[in-house]
Symmetry: C2
Subunit: 203 residues, 2 copies
Amino acid sequence: MVRTKDPAVRAMLIERAAQMLAAREPITLRSLVAGTGVSTMALYTYFGGMDGLWKAVRQEGFTRLAARLATIPATADPVTDLTALGAAYLANALANPDLYRVMFEAGFELEDAAAADETLHYLVQGVERATAAGRFRAGVDPLELAVQSWTIGHGLASLVVTGPLPEAALGHGVPLLTALFTSAGDDPGRCRSSVERGWSPAV
Amino acid sequence: MVRTKDPAVRAMLIERAAQMLAAREPITLRSLVAGTGVSTMALYTYFGGMDGLWKAVRQEGFTRLAARLATIPATADPVTDLTALGAAYLANALANPDLYRVMFEAGFELEDAAAADETLHYLVQGVERATAAGRFRAGVDPLELAVQSWTIGHGLASLVVTGPLPEAALGHGVPLLTALFTSAGDDPGRCRSSVERGWSPAV
DNA sequence: CCTCAAAACATAGCATTGTTATGTATTGTG
DNA sequence: CACAATACATAACAATGCTATGTTTTGAGG
């Protein structure tokens, strides 16, 4: 009774938008669909307009971020794992700087918050594992500490990606997180090994 | 030999742009000059175009921030002063959320970096005073610690101003900064008084 | 298998945007 | 006082996002 949408078209447009973003080409309605075979109306049937496209691009950004965080394995040292999650967060922002910028630009809405919460969940789980292992003081709220870790990661990523700080500043990530975890009760000596192992935010 | 520009017009346009930003009205060339008596060309003689206007608005944002930080007095407790600077930073972002967002949006350039450095200088001086008072471990790089403080402040301000975190999350500011300063060698017990005094990022 | 309506899709036009081209008015300077 | 450089105003321009209109496809009901 109805003609159905082709999900491949939607995915292709999002992918193309991400590529144009990485190539620093201005993304306009006509430039986006140029050469793709689809007309300008496709963007309205699949996204409802440019706002819808940007929302989908933000979702894509959070999906890529979550995929990257999912690759961090859970080792016997949960605090080191948390630091690794932070480094992976920074590495993702550095690898897709323009996409990361769009993720937190104006237009952030409820649906984006859900995607962001999913990302935050990785940190919450990490804090819970560390707490269960007795590495943090009893009474530490996992969500609270996860949000604080996120704040550090996003602050650093944002300042580097938007320009004020050079890429080298990403090296502050591990010390900042270590300071936070120490204040939550962890013995800084136990984390030293991971730092010496040379966690780098670079890919 | 030449007709001179009136600085008042330039200031008026920047002020009007800031007001429209706070009122969440879309800022377009024609809406900006509507009702001001000046024509659209004024924006080109004074700013060279919309990009120039946005650059001037960013500068205005950094100027307001610097003015707010300048009101923080230097007390006998330099570490508490640093915390107060952080709280003032957050209060400024909360009072002018849209302006703060524009300050760090795409388009950040060299001239903006100079303004940002001026802001950072308040933090560097604060760290230097604390180091001179023996509150931080010897060998602490003032610029490094200032950048780390900025990272925390901006991360929190950015996540609140763009939407992911609620305003209440600004309460994380003091604990995060305290954790950082403690890792730099300060005795957390000496800072407790300032926390108990109830530093609030709210105005 | 046929029908048909609903939705995808294409084309063209519209209002608005930032910018530039052109002309006028003003004013500081020699 | 004269003039030229510059502020300033008006209008036209290309490009943008969007909508109106028409066409084509296709999946469900008989």
